[in-house]
Symmetry: C3
Subunit: 316 residues, 3 copies
């Protein structure tokens, strides 16, 4: 594996999930692999789970982790070509990416979408620029359209908690007070299409995700129907993709409740976190045994460690 | 030791101080104890000494230290139960604490009081929530009512510098331009009550600390009388506890001066730092041989290392 | 070497550059030297290269690196003596420097100039205070008048890329939208005076650097003449030194272009970065083979590692 910035970079999901499970069983077994290697974690946006779990994954492999908040601790970066840099952006991504490549053996970047400029967001301007100019592997810590490390953790979690060979997995939209990116649902859709599951998406009319990604997946606007006999409910808000970045519904009837969970086949509740209680899901669901959001977050470490392992081994 | 968030968590002060002294004599002797263990340091507020000394202590034990400024680098946290999270707080402490527990073997948290909501401050809302929801030990890096790591360093310092078996130790209020918390004086009171010292508190009328903590301690409003024959003067400002969080005096006659120190029995001057020069204490006292604030700050490392040692050993 | 805060601290440039080259050839060869040693990196200002390369250098030597943004993560510091600290500055540099010295074996500090108070800037108030009060070696990560780690990397780069024994090296002013410090050009002037090069400075009239530093160096206001037969062009903006901190020219005819580079003797283009494209230098020059700004930035690691090595070895 060279870069890991999309679920599309996973060649064999089963093998990757198996690797993550093996790492989880013995997280320190490969502590020589990262010796004298440095992971640079560059944040343009806030992060809790990703920040901590990816550092932990690097440390487990014997790597050093250097964390930097680009916007507050460094210089504002220019991403456009050919401009006269006479504004407030002090450095071009061309130099920044090449330079950081010399101090770090792997670069990991978090950069959220604008949610106003659809074209720029879909280009994955920041991640794409790092991949173009960096001379070392690049990992996405969540870009504008994908959150692939989350997707690996999600696939591992479904694998661990499934009770039948081919579980029914439902991705459901749920209401939220702020406009949120599409990165998590996009990557979850992509990874579930690679997994051996019966996958259904449910959301209000008009809240279609990018049809390129959802092609071939069953989509229904009837949440109750979707929940029927489900083994996993994955709740997530996203802003409108067609009326790009807008909030066109906060319909509370989409909140995941105990009544809704009762429609499932003893279904497990998943969410990438952070989760808005009593908006996305009620307290009683989140605090019930059906919720596996905490072990799901734990799997972030082993997902990241599996990706780092593959990159380091391919670089040997 | 499971958690360390209050001086009350110290079962045997003598033994703890002896451990800290032994660690100070050989700080790297136990570098295998923390192998593959990670300390997460979570800051809701600024920190210099605590931030650096606790990291240093972890590194001395072979631990990894991961530092995070929660408010600026992560998500705003909700601490109330049952709320509809439709505001600016993206994550509930229930999830945050459980999640971080999976990435870190010990969680250390700094959270200052509001100084406006006495009830919430006295509940130690943040530290209490971490203790409640975290599945790993929690250390206070200063909460709203206690700063117990400081207290251990203070006890070690008194032990090192005392010239008689039972020294007279005076905690004196001193003026300050801003409203300050009660955490440091509270923990100092608690730890001195556990130590073999003649302990006196002096402050202007109305500046009583929480009487629960000071019960049994000699309190006088006559600073000169208090200083008489003292072996240690511990200066500290705190805001009014009764008129909660207010500044009801900036009386400069309470500033510790050379003249005042002359009343003592060759007394040593202590302060937790940062200290406002010529408000709390005059330059001449702070720059004199009587001042032991620098070695006192040095002891922060060994206090933290002693606590980490006890927690790691009890967790084996 | 005790401190490293100025090019003047280099006793033997050839030997230092040779050490840096040897370290570059085998960066992990001396990984025991820094064992149990901690480098504290204290930032009062933004930093990308310096932040990452100096951490990397420390890690390569087996040191721990603790990074702290003083202004946002700690307390505002007071640098004046004798003041009544009743304002917003919570801690005096006297205490801060002494305290940090106890947690770190080497202190590295970045502090930019005010560009308004020439006297204070020339005193190097912050770096000087750390040197005065710290009990451990102090390294400048760029002060108000010098950037000596950059200068060592620059000297190493000239040494690596020179094709004749005594190359012609030109420092040229170039336009920039913001008022910039003199630290980089000052240190470059100082280090080139120590190197075996034919050194020329060119800038618009009125943009003279501190004459104390440029004494004995050929200075011309004719950029074309300066570029003639040059082997290295080092471009840099600085604000006016006489009309202190002012921008008195943004003359675009000083931008380094392909036409200008054609005047040189196959000259290499250098810049400390971050660089404003199409202000300081055109895209075509920066993206050409003549540009060595990326390997120059890479040398920051080995420059820092050479300095850390000398300090650690002298401290043994």
């Amino acid at each position: 594996m060279k870069n890991f910035t999309s679920v599309d970079d996973i060649q064999n999901l089963n093998e990757l999930v198996s690797l993550a499970k093996a790492i989880k069983a013995a997280p320190f077994a490969n502590a020589e692999l990262g010796r004298n290697k440095t992971l640079g974690l560059l944040f343009f946006n806030p992060s809790l789970r990703t920040r901590l779990s990816t550092q932990k994954a690097a440390l487990n492999l014997g790597m050093h982790a250097i964390v930097m908040n680009l916007n507050t601790e460094g210089w504002l970066l220019e991403f456009e070509d050919g401009v006269v840099m006479d504004g407030n952006k002090a450095e071009h991504i061309k130099e920044a990416a090449q330079v950081v490549s010399q101090y770090c053996d792997i670069i990991a970047v978090r950069s959220f979408p604008t949610l106003t400029d659809k074209e720029k967001d879909e280009e994955e301007q920041v991640i794409t620029a790092f991949k173009k100019y960096a001379s070392v592997p690049v990992i996405s810590l969540e870009g504008s359209t994908e959150h692939p490390l989350q997707a690996v953790a999600d696939a591992l979690t479904v694998e661990e908690y499934k009770t039948i060979a081919r579980p029914k997995v439902v991705l459901t939209w749920a209401p939220h007070p702020k406009a949120l990116p599409h990165a998590v649902p996009n990557s979850f859709v992509k990874v579930m299409k690679k997994a051996d599951v019966d996958f259904v998406i449910t959301h209000p009319e008009g809240y279609e995700l990018n049809p390129e990604f959802t092609a071939g997946v069953t989509i229904t606007h009837n949440q109750d129907e979707a929940f029927k006999d489900a083994n996993f409910i994955y709740a997530k808000n996203w802003s409108n993709y067609i009326e790009y970045g807008q909030i066109t519904s906060k319909d509370p009837s989409w909140t995941v409740t105990t009544e809704k969970m009762a429609l499932t086949n003893d279904g497990k509740f998943m969410h990438c976190l952070p989760v808005r209680r009593n908006m996305i899901v009620t307290d009683d669901v989140l605090d019930s045994d059906a919720s596996i959001v905490i072990p799901q977050a734990n799997n972030r470490t082993y997902a990241a460690q599996a990706i780092l392992t593959k990159i380091l081994e391919d670089g040997k």
